[in-house]
C-alpha cells in the first residue's frame, strides 16, 4: 500500500533539489567548457561550501542505511565507523593540504595527474586512474540501493520493469543536472541535503529515546552479544584487531577515492582544507548518533512487527532504519526523512561520477587516446563519460545481485588503498621509484583480492603471526605488502638507474 502523504512530501523535496541542480550552472559562473570549471567548480569553494560538499560526499546515503543496518544486525562491531571517522580528520589536516598545493600549482585535477607529474611514469598513473574508476563504480551503484530501499518503504513495488522506473527517473534527473552544471550542482544540493539529514537525525535521537523511556532503556534492550565486542579467544586477537584494523584501514583509504580528492581539490585554498579538518567532525558526531539508530530499531522491535515482514524480506537489515521511521514518525516526517536519504544518494553519486569522469578524461583519454585534444574537447568528453558511468551504475544495480555489489564495494576499499604509496608517500618523498610503486601496487592488488576471495568476501582475514591469530582488515594487510615491495624495489632500482629527474614538481610546490 502506498503511503501517499510521505510520497508527496518526498516528491516535492526531490523536485526542489532538481530545480537547484539546474540553476547551479549559473552559480559563481565559470566557463564550463574547461575541465577544472566543470569538474572542480573552478577551485573556488570556500570553507562553508567545502564543508557541505565534502560532508555530503563522504557521508553517503548508503552510509545512512548501512551503518545502522550493521549495528542492527551485527551489533558493536558496526560501531567501527566511529573510530574510523575519528582518524580521518588528522590525516586530512596533515596530508591533503600538500596535495591541494601541488595540484593548484600544476593544474592537477586528479590524483593520477599528480602521480604522472611526480613520477613521470604514465603506466603508474594509468594504474592509479584505473583503480580509482574501478573502486568507485560499485560505490555509485550502492547509492542506488539507498534510494531503492526508501522507495520500497513508501510502498512502491521496486521489483520488475515498472518498479525500476522511479529509480531510472531519479538517475536521469541526476545525469541531466550533472551534465549541465558539473560540480556546482552537488555542491549546492549538498546544502539542502545536509539540512534535511540533520533534521532527521536530531529528530530520531530525541524522539525515539523519549518513546522508549531513555537511552538506558534502549541499551538494556540490546542482547549482550551485540552490546560489546566479543572477548578474543585464547591465541587470537579476535574481534579487537578486526575492529581496530577495519577502522584504521578504512580511514587510510577514504581520501584516496577520486570523489574525496575532487572535494578537496575544489576548495579555494589549502587553508580551507585545514579549516575543514577541524569543522567536518560535526558530521562524524551525526554518523555516530546515526549508528545508534540501528540499536533503536532493535529496541523498538521493528523486526517482529508484521507490517514490516515484507520489507525485511526484500531488503534484509537495510530495511531497519526505514522501518523505524515508519513505526515512530508521522507520515509527513517520514517523507522528509526518506527524501533526505534519497537526496543523500544523489549528492555523492553526482560527485563520484564527476570524479571518475575527470579521471578517465585526464588520465586515459588525454594521455593515451587523444593527446592533442583541446580544453573544450576534454571538458565535453568528461561530461559524456559522466553519463556513461551513471548508466553503467544503473545497469549494474539491475543486472547484478545486491550481494555482488557489496562484495565489489568491499574490494573497492582493498583496491583503492593500494594507491596510498604513490599518492600519499609520494607527497613527502621522491625516494620511491615509479616502477617499484607500480609493482608494489600490483602485488597489493592481487594479494588483497586473493585474500578477500579466500574468505568468501568477508572484510577480515585471519593472519597467523608467531602462533597468534590476528584477524586483520584485508586492505591494511595487503597495503603493508605493497609498501614493503615498493620500498625494497625502489632501493634496488634507484641503484641501477634513478628516475628522479622525471619529477616536474619542486619542494616549494607542496607548501
Amino acid at each position: 500500500m502506498i503511503n501517499w502523504t510521505a510520497l508527496i512530501v518526498f516528491v516535492l523535496l526531490f523536485g526542489l533539489v532538481t530545480w537547484i541542480g539546474f540553476i547551479a550552472a549559473h552559480w559563481r559562473r565559470g566557463d564550463l567548457t574547461m575541465l577544472h570549471e566543470w569538474g572542480l567548480g573552478g577551485r573556488r569553494f570556500g570553507t562553508i561550501v567545502t564543508w557541505f560538499l565534502i560532508g555530503g560526499d563522504l557521508y553517503t546515503a548508503y552510509t545512512f542505511i548501512a551503518v545502522p543496518a550493521l549495528m542492527f544486525g551485527a551489533g558493536a562491531i558496526g560501531f567501527f565507523a566511529v573510530p574510523y571517522t575519528v582518524m580521518i580528520y588528522p590525516i586530512l589536516y596533515i596530508v591533503f593540504p600538500r596535495l591541494w598545493s601541488v595540484a593548484h600549482k600544476h593544474g592537477y585535477v586528479t590524483s593520477a595527474d599528480f602521480v604522472r607529474g611526480r613520477f613521470g611514469n604514465r603506466w603508474l598513473a594509468l594504474a592509479i586512474a584505473c583503480t580509482g574508476i574501478l573502486a568507485t563504480m560499485p560505490y555509485i551503484a550502492l547509492q542506488l540501493v539507498g534510494i531503492q530501499v526508501v522507495l520500497g518503504a513508501m510502498g512502491i513495488e521496486t521489483g520488475g520493469l515498472s518498479g525500476d522506473l522511479p529509480l531510472i527517473i531519479a538517475f536521469v534527473i541526476l545525469a541531466a543536472f550533472t551534465y549541465t552544471s558539473g560540480l556546482r550542482a552537488p555542491a549546492m544540493i549538498a546544502i539542502v541535503k545536509d539540512l534535511l539529514i540533520y533534521i532527521t537525525v536530531i529528530a530520531a535521537i530525541i524522539v525515539v529515546p523519549l518513546h522508549l523511556g531513555g537511552y538506558g532503556k534502549m541499551f538494556a534492550a540490546i542482547p549482550p552479544a551485540k552490546l560489546l565486542l566479543a572477548p578474543p579467544p585464547a591465541g587470537s586477537l579476535g574481534s579487537f584487531s578486526a575492529y581496530a584494523t577495519l577502522a584504521l584501514g578504512s580511514a587510510l583509504a577514504l581520501f584516496l577515492y577520486p570523489h574525496s580528492i575532487t572535494g578537496i581539490l575544489s576548495s579555494s585554498s589549502a587553508r580551507v582544507v585545514r579549516r575543514n579538518a577541524a569543522a567536518l567532525p560535526a558530521y562524524s558526531l551525526m554518523l555516530g548518533l546515526l549508528a545508534l539508530v540501528g540499536f533503536m530499531a532493535i529496541a523498538v522491535g521493528v523486526q517482529s512487527m508484521p507490517e514490516f515482514a515484507a520489507g525485511f524480506k526484500s531488503y534484509s537489515n537495510n530495511f531497519a532504519v526505514p522501518a523505524l521511521f515508519l513505526a515512530i514518525f508521522p507520515s509527513w516526517f517520514v517523507g522528509v526523512a526518506f527524501a533526505a536519504i534519497a537526496i543523500g544518494a544523489l549528492v555523492p553519486a553526482a560527485i563520484m561520477s564527476i570524479a571518475t569522469a575527470n579521471t578517465f578524461t585526464r588520465n586515459i583519454y588525454r594521455e593515451f587516446i587523444n593527446p592533442a585534444c583541446t580544453n573544450a574537447q576534454e571538458s565535453q568528453m568528461a561530461k559524456i563519460v559522466s553519463l556513461v558511468i551513471k548508466a553503467g551504475a544503473l545497469v549494474f544495480i539491475f543486472a547484478i545481485p545486491f550481494q555482488f555489489a557489496l562484495y565489489l564495494q568491499l574490494l573497492g576499499g582493498v583496491w583503492i588503498i593500494q594507491t596510498l604509496p604513490a599518492v600519499i608517500l609520494g607527497l613527502y618523498t621522491r625516494m620511491l621509484n615509479g616502477w617499484a610503486l607500480l609493482i608494489g601496487w600490483a602485488c597489493g592488488f592481487c594479494l588483497g583480492t586473493w585474500m578477500a576471495a579466500s574468505v568468501n568476501f568477508a572484510p577480515v582475514y585471519p593472519l597467523h603471526i608467531f602462533g597468534t591469530t590476528v584477524p586483520c582488515y584485508i586492505a591494511l594487510a595487503s597495503l603493508v605488502v605493497n609498501v614493503v615491495v615498493a620500498l625494497v624495489l625502489s632501493l634496488a632500482l634507484n641503484a641501477v638507474s634513478s628516475d628522479r629527474h622525471k619529477d616536474v614538481t619542486v619542494a616549494g610546490d607542496y607548501a
Binding site: 589536516y93 541499551f219 589549502a270 579538518a277 560535526a282
Partner: protein, 70 residues
C-alpha cells in the same frame, strides 16, 4: 568571491603540536581499554560514549593545532 589576502599563506608547521594529532589514533585503536559497559553515562555504556567523546576531542585537538599554525 575573492579570497582573503592571507588565504594562500602557508601554515607554519609546529612539530610538537602535530604530534598531538597522534593521540586520537592511540585512543581509539586500543580497543581492550574501552570495550566495557562501566562506567555508564546517562545510561550509555562506556564503549559508546567513550568513542563518541573522541570525535569531539579529536576535533578540538585539530582546531588547537590549526590556531597554533595560522
Amino acid at each position: 568571491m575573492s579570497a582573503r589576502p592571507d588565504e594562500h599563506l602557508p601554515a607554519r608547521p609546529v612539530a610538537w603540536a602535530r604530534l598531538l594529532l597522534l593521540i586520537p589514533f592511540i585512543a581509539v585503536l586500543w580497543v581492550p581499554f574501552y570495550n566495557g559497559v562501566e562506567p555508564t553515562w546517562a545510561g550509555i555504556p562506556f564503549f559508546y560514549w567513550y568513542q563518541l567523546l573522541w570525535i569531539i576531542l579529536s576535533a578540538a585537538i585539530i582546531a588547537f593545532v590549526y590556531r597554533l599554525e595560522h
